[in-house]
């Protein structure tokens, strides 16, 4: 017999007493406990995120902030451009320029627009040379068609006089040949003929 055995035997009475009486603790059912549990179950079933740790929706907030920033930036750009547009001369209403039509900027009409620009350039050059504005220029059919595409009034080009040194050889020629010859003369001025350069896009826009 080990020395601990009398102590175990002695304590076994304590253990037996608690084992017997542990089931005799008086208990009464309280409906409030079930109501609280049912409410917790309803909350967990209806909104599972309520039981989890609350995490702020930083992604949504980031979208809001970026959206507001872009709006503010575009607004600032518009405000900055407004006085420039007001002070700039109306290029499209200049004498000799065709009315601007935004539909011409489409890719399918780019070729036609380029051709029209060449005609405009030639006409502007003729104006710069102080040619009489009453000289009628007969345009080729496809040029007329291009002009009629615009919804504004057609620009009447000045007719050419026979004694004019610059365009004297064009009196009986069609506008096609005149254009081709003037293109050769103005080949040095490529910058005037080349299509408008594309606006350089920022890498982050």
């Amino acid at each position: 017999m080990t020395p601990n055995q009398p102590e175990k035997k002695e304590y076994s009475r304590v253990d037996a007493y608690f084992r017997q009486n542990a089931e005799d603790i008086p208990v009464t059912f309280d409906p409030a406990n079930w109501n609280a549990l049912a409410a917790a179950l309803d909350a967990a079933a209806g909104n599972p995120t309520k039981t989890l740790v609350h995490r702020p929706n930083r992604l949504g907030k980031c979208w809001w902030v970026s959206g507001v920033f872009l709006l503010a930036l575009s607004g600032a750009w518009w405000i900055w451009q407004a006085p420039l547009n007001a002070s700039a001369p109306d290029v499209h209403n200049e004498v000799g320029m065709l009315p601007f039509d935004s539909t011409e900027l489409s890719t399918s009409n780019h070729k036609r627009l380029l051709q029209k620009t060449r005609v405009e350039t030639l006409y502007r050059d003729s104006v710069d040379l102080n040619l009489p504005k009453s000289i009628p220029i007969e345009l080729a059919p496809y040029h007329k068609e291009a002009f009629q595409k615009t919804k504004s009034d057609l620009v009447k080009a000045p007719s050419l006089s026979a004694e004019d040194s610059t365009l004297s050889n064009l009196t009986n020629a069609s506008i096609d040949s005149a254009v081709s010859q003037q293109m050769e003369k103005l080949s040095a001025h490529d910058s005037l003929v080349t299509p408008p350069a594309k606006k350089k896009k920022h890498i982050f826009w």
Binding site: D15, E23, L37
Partner: protein
């Protein structure tokens, strides 16, 4: 505790509120008695029971051991009670029983009532000693399991059991309950 009817178990698997209430009522008394032995007061015991039942009812479909559902539920309740003990054992006021019985304000009738109350005896023990005594003596856990549950060593569990037994025996001998 009587066996739980299969209709209640099937309803709980389908998360039917009526079956859940029947299961709660069926197991309320034995599980609340278990919680009362660990808790400081009846309100805390009800909280422990509700936390345990919340886990039971929300994870009821995960139970696969057919026929041992009561043991599975009891294990969850005991774990909830142990969580309560581990969270609150540092905040329990403890006065030695010898000093408590000698308080001048305690009347003889009140002292007799408390001494005969098993819960009062357990609540006068230190929190960890009371929990070790309950787990080892009443629930039947080994010292190794008690140590793992409470986060103490096996030797420490043995010391707490010895301390609890000594205090309880002294108290019971004083009241001549044994």
């Amino acid at each position: 505790m009587t066996a739980i009817p299969e209709s209640i178990l099937e309803g709980c698997r389908k998360k039917e509120r009526r079956a859940q209430e029947q299961l709660y009522r069926h197991c309320y008394a034995p599980f609340l008695r278990l919680c009362l032995r660990y808790a400081e007061c009846p309100a805390d015991a009800a909280d422990i029971l509700n936390k345990a039942f919340f886990n039971i009812l929300t994870k009821f479909d995960q139970f696969r051991e057919e026929g041992n559902v009561l043991g599975w539920m009891k294990r969850i309740v005991i774990h909830a009670a142990v969580d309560y003990v581990r969270a609150n054992r540092r905040f329990r006021y403890h006065s030695p029983m010898e000093v408590a019985t000698d308080l001048p304000g305690a009347s003889t009738a009140d002292a007799t009532l408390l001494e005969n109350d098993l819960l009062a005896l357990l609540r006068e023990l230190p929190f960890t000693s009371s929990a070790v005594f309950n787990l080892f003596v009443v629930e039947g856990y080994s010292h190794r399991e008690v140590g793992e549950l409470l986060g103490i060593s096996e030797a420490n569990s043995k010391w707490h059991l010895h301390h609890a037994r000594k205090l309880l025996q002294h108290k019971l001998q004083q009241t001549a309950a044994l």
